[in-house]
């Protein structure tokens, strides 16, 4: 990937992006769907677009997904 493509990819925004408030509100639904093996991104493309673009929400999603796929004992 050349420098123009790298910059372009970073600057391009996805109009389906739902933003952090919506992503945090529905994170449990999305993560549970993803953990079940379903195509969560296809069902909720606006969530997928946001989680791809937003580092903190993407990190929260990864953390929740990790916990769901390997739940704490108790």
């Amino acid at each position: 990937m050349d420098e123009r493509e790298t910059l372009d990819r970073f600057l391009t925004t996805d109009p389906r992006d739902v933003g952090c408030d919506e992503a945090m509100a529905f994170l449990h639904v999305y993560a549970e769907l993803a953990a079940s093996g379903a195509d969560a991104a296809e069902r909720f493309p606006g969530m997928a677009a946001h989680l791809l673009a937003c580092g903190p929400c993407g990190d929260d999603f990864q953390g929740l997904l990790d916990i769901l796929t390997d739940p704490p004992e108790g």
């Binding site: 990937m1 420098e3 910059l7 933003g19 945090m24 449990h28 903190p56 990190d59």
Partner: protein, 216 residues
């Protein structure tokens, strides 16, 4: 502009009342037992999430345990406050884990300035580091130098608020949650500032012939 919740499509149908929810909404020993069990579970989730996000050298074992208990306590408060709003769209535990994960982000954002942020200058843009991340190091090629110059110019044309937030988060690499804590705002509000800044910068680079337009 960010999309609305309606774009998420239909949500899963409501499930039967989860045993956790039934106990937590009750009164008496069963509720007390559930509260203790939930707290223990949240401590374990918080501890796991802190370990995932932090290297061992960043926060020692005892400090990490203390922080996990703080996260669990604050997540408990949030969960009990929001319990009437739980609609059964997921298992109760999934919903509860989310509060612990979000609280870890919140705590780490606030801790950033204590642990590593003392030396971060917010009024000076670290362009060299950013250009390196974007493969725009001026020594790389004439095209990279041209793009880097155009980018700096476009950032200079942002509103003062957009420029402040873009430089701190995108150029200098300050975590978004740390800026949320510093500015006393919300993650969504700062994300939208960066989102709008990216659109504005891209539009300027397109107008000046540096990037191609896209259909949205």
């Amino acid at each position: 502009m960010l999309a609305a919740v309606d774009d998420l499509g239909a949500l899963p149908s409501e499930r039967d009342v989860d045993p956790w929810v039934a106990s937590l909404r009750s009164v008496g020993p069963a509720r007390d037992d559930r509260l203790r069990a939930l707290h223990d579970l949240l401590v374990r989730v918080a501890s796991r999430e802190l370990s995932r996000r932090l290297s061992a050298s960043y926060l020692g074992g005892q400090d990490r345990d203390d922080l996990a208990h703080e996260v669990a306590a604050d997540a408990m408060v949030a969960i009990l406050k929001k319990l009437p709003e739980f609609r059964g769209e997921s298992r109760f535990t999934t919903w509860a884990y989310k509060f612990a994960v979000l609280e870890v982000s919140n705590k780490l954002g606030r801790s950033y300035w204590t642990w590593v942020g003392r030396t971060v200058a917010l009024d000076t843009a670290d362009w060299a580091q950013f250009e390196d991340r974007m493969a725009l190091a001026p020594e790389k090629s004439a095209e990279a130098r041209e793009l880097a110059d155009a980018l700096r110019s476009a950032v200079g044309n942002l509103t003062p608020r957009q420029r402040e937030v873009f430089v701190a988060i995108v150029v200098n690499g300050v975590p978004l949650d740390a800026m949320v804590a510093k500015l006393g705002t919300s993650r969504n509000a700062l994300y939208k500032v960066v989102f709008d800044a990216r659109r504005k910068i891209r539009a300027e680079l397109v107008a000046n012939g540096h990037l191609n337009p896209v259909d949205e």
